[in-house]
């Protein structure tokens, strides 16, 4: 293993992580909800054809806030950096896997990763180890086996 010092951003990543923690803290304490993106968005899909009164507005307000973040960032700091090397087909396949997987697994990097580990939930620890492990494995195969 070689450390990639050129791209290493400990302070920005720590600051970003602290903001994620603050957002999660605010959401559970003020609104009484777990900040899990797949659950918030997936719940909207569950309402199609079967609306659940009082459960849609908060999800939409939250997603609108997320969509506003890059606009605010653009105005203050400039464009959001993003290098997407994956092709269109890979991106679509990845999206399908993430959509189905996060719903079966009841969470993603936010709900299980940040909130679950902060709650000291063994279930979320197991989920986090599983999705991190799969992420490490698939990148290893793509970059070092079929490269």
């Amino acid at each position: 293993m070689t450390i990639d010092w050129n791209h290493f951003t400990p302070w920005a990543s720590l600051a970003g992580g602290i903001l994620l923690g603050l957002a999660s803290a605010l959401f559970i304490l003020a609104n009484g909800r777990i900040l899990g993106i797949s659950g918030i968005v997936g719940g909207l899909m569950g309402h199609i054809g079967r609306p659940k009164a009082g459960d849609t507005g908060w999800r939409i307000a939250f997603v609108l806030g997320m969509l506003t973040a890059p606009v605010l960032y653009l105005l203050v700091a400039g464009p959001v950096p993003a290098t997407i090397d994956a092709g269109w087909g890979t991106v679509v396949l990845a999206g399908l896997l993430v959509g189905v997987g996060t719903r079966y697994g009841s969470g993603c990097t936010s709900g299980h990763g940040i909130c679950g580990l902060s709650r000291l939930s063994p279930r979320s620890l197991a989920a986090t180890l599983a999705f991190m492990g799969a992420g490490f494995a698939i990148v290893f195969v793509m970059r070092h086996v079929f490269a």
Binding site: H7, G16, P81, V91, V100, G101, T102
Partner: protein, 146 residues
């Protein structure tokens, strides 16, 4: 209205956090997931920072019966570690490793106008809808069996 404002603000705060953290840049995420290459450990600091703040907040949340805004506390109650949890998480991790996007950053990148993020989010919504269809079908079948 107070609730909608908080939810919007928390979404905004979370989105800015993801951008600062580097989570919305798939090449950075993949740099973290590439243990065998030149490894960028930055994202470990994201998780560390998040949990650092979260530990205190969730310890406080567990003791409360209502939220600060007066609503119910929706803390998860399931402790089951089963095939659904692990299988679903493995599928999610595979998708995350393929493109470098997980749900939150993909939605933020959609707001940043990335066309591939839009394709990812569209496919993710289809995946989530497929899950709902399968779940409803199974619920109907098990209801019919009784």
């Amino acid at each position: 209205m107070q609730h909608r404002v908080t939810e919007f603000f928390v979404g905004l705060l979370f989105g800015v956090g993801l951008i600062l953290a580097g989570m919305t840049d798939p090449s950075k995420v993949l740099g973290f997931l590439d243990l065998a290459g030149t490894w960028d450990p930055s994202l470990a600091f994201v998780m560390g920072g998040g949990i650092l703040v979260g530990l205190g907040a969730f310890a406080m949340a567990k003791k409360r019966t209502t939220s600060f805004l007066g609503g119910a506390m929706h803390l998860p109650t399931s402790a089951v570690i089963d095939k659904r949890l692990i299988g679903g998480s493995l599928l999610f991790g595979a998708g995350w490793g393929l493109a470098g996007f997980c749900p939150g950053p993909a939605i933020v990148s959609l707001g940043a106008g990335q066309p591939k993020a839009a394709a990812f989010v569209a496919a993710m919504l289809v995946g989530m809808a497929v899950f709902e269809i399968i779940e409803r079908k199974q619920a109907r079948q098990s209801a019919g069996a009784h």
